[in-house]
Amino acid sequence: MMYDIIIIGGGAAGLSAAKEAYDPALKILVIEREARLGGILRQCIHNGFGIHKFNLELTGPEYAEKTAEAIEDLDIDVLLKTTVTDIIKFKTFDLTVMNETDGEFHVEAKSVIIASGCYEKTRSQILLPGDRPAGILTAGSAQRYLNLDGYMVGKKVFILGSGDIGLIMARRMTLEGAEVLGVAELMPYSNGLTRNIAQCLDDYDIPLYLSHTITDIIGKERLEKIVIQEVDPHFTPIEGTEKTFEVDTLLLSVGLVPDIQMFESLKFAISPITKGAIVDQHLQTSVEGLFACGNALHVHDLVDWVSEESERAGQYAKAYVTGTLHAHEAKDVIPGDHVRYVLPQKLDFSGQDESTRFSLRSTIKADKGTFKIMQGDTLIMHKKMRHIAPAEMEHLIVPKDKWVSDEPVTISLEVS
């Protein structure tokens, strides 16, 4: 069966892409590995989602349901409990998929959108020292066990990483009867929303140890203790600052990575910074007809921006299969001073859109700063911003007529 567009992933990204890709003349398929649509939002039972998109404060499942509703009445095929295990491309894409009903089989498409989300970094990727007992999990795993399966993973908990997942789980575990002894954060500031520090830590008197890292893990069978230490500006542990906590559980909230290893046989260019595909303003990868969006492209902090980005991916994939998307040579978009990365990393100046939307992250925290978009020595546009932080993705919209040439673009942050 030849589809026009196959979307891999039925979470916020995949569903948003499906909605905008839809056209009664096109055959579209969404492939989802779980038994229900919704993706990671299903286990994010706290609220705070949808403030920008719907002007509402929704819980994760509510946001997922609203997004899924948008495609309910559309003629889009959905394969649940089905996993993509391989993709190759000849002229079109050949996907190997499998499920319990039909075993392993193939589906084909003219275009594919990767919306497969991200996975959590584990102990191995951050090289945590010490013993390897039971009781060390990622925060997301603990969240899944708690919110979907209904099990607690421990009684006395410490959390490494003050990103939102870590903060949310600090509160969640406390509400369900665990004792959370603290959250340690390597950086001198938290990566999570300030409001989460207040309503997840302060509300429950859970201490936050900034500029601290774990320097030892003790426990033969089950975790017994962890030791944290303060670090200096070079992240070297400072002697004499050891603090020991007797805990049976350590939750890791130490970073997310786009989950795209299944598709690497397609050999699309991958950014070493985002760990996701390198794309142009059409969210198209270096492989023609292959698009990416959502956390599978780069890790987002707000699902609202996932929806926004994925809707565009859907539109562009539709344009591609209907022959109205033309690919030309694209130039680099370069992250300049104090900018960690910019998406898209490639810009085709002959593109049809009225404007280009850039998503970017800073490398530093700043109360005030100005983002500057340059082509060579020419200032194309600037935007003053407040409360800049690496954890908060920023967006800049540049009208098409602002470009002065087809020179590479540099976006940097000037701190006031």
């Binding site: 706290h46 994760g60 919110n147 399966d149 369900e176 409001r195 409360h387």
Partner: protein
């Protein structure tokens, strides 16, 4: 002059507020909602509560819920205990009231996930 420092949680900006404990004067807010929040934190702090309750659905053993409005902060753990006794029987639609007026707060417990079977 005793003041309480706090972070406003009304919106993602997270203004740092100072509230005078006697006069309830609020400084540091960037909008009127923040002023309201600061005062309320010292007089009657409330929170939205999200959690899960048991369900007899096949696909997952817990169903997510929220309170229909903010509840007194001091009643959070008592309400968590009440949640232990609720079982949401399928079919459930997001928005369904699973328990009315929990612990006399005037606030309901609402399902936030829809489960058919």
């Amino acid at each position: 002059m005793a003041t309480r420092e706090m972070i406003c949680i009304v919106c993602p900006v997270g203004c740092h507020l100072s509230v005078d404990e006697k006069t309830l004067e609020v400084t540091g807010n960037r909008c009127p909602r923040g002023e309201k929040y600061g005062k309320k934190e010292l007089t009657n702090p409330t929170r939205m509560l999200t959690s899960t309750v048991k369900t007899n659905a096949k696909i997952q053993r817990r169903i997510s819920i929220k309170t229909s409005d903010e509840i007194p902060k001091g009643k959070i753990f008592a309400i968590m205990d009440v949640l232990n006794d609720i079982e949401a029987k399928v079919p459930v639609k997001a928005g369904d009231v699973l328990l009315k007026n929990v612990l006399d707060t005037g606030v309901d417990i609402i399902a936030t996930t829809s489960l058919e079977h």
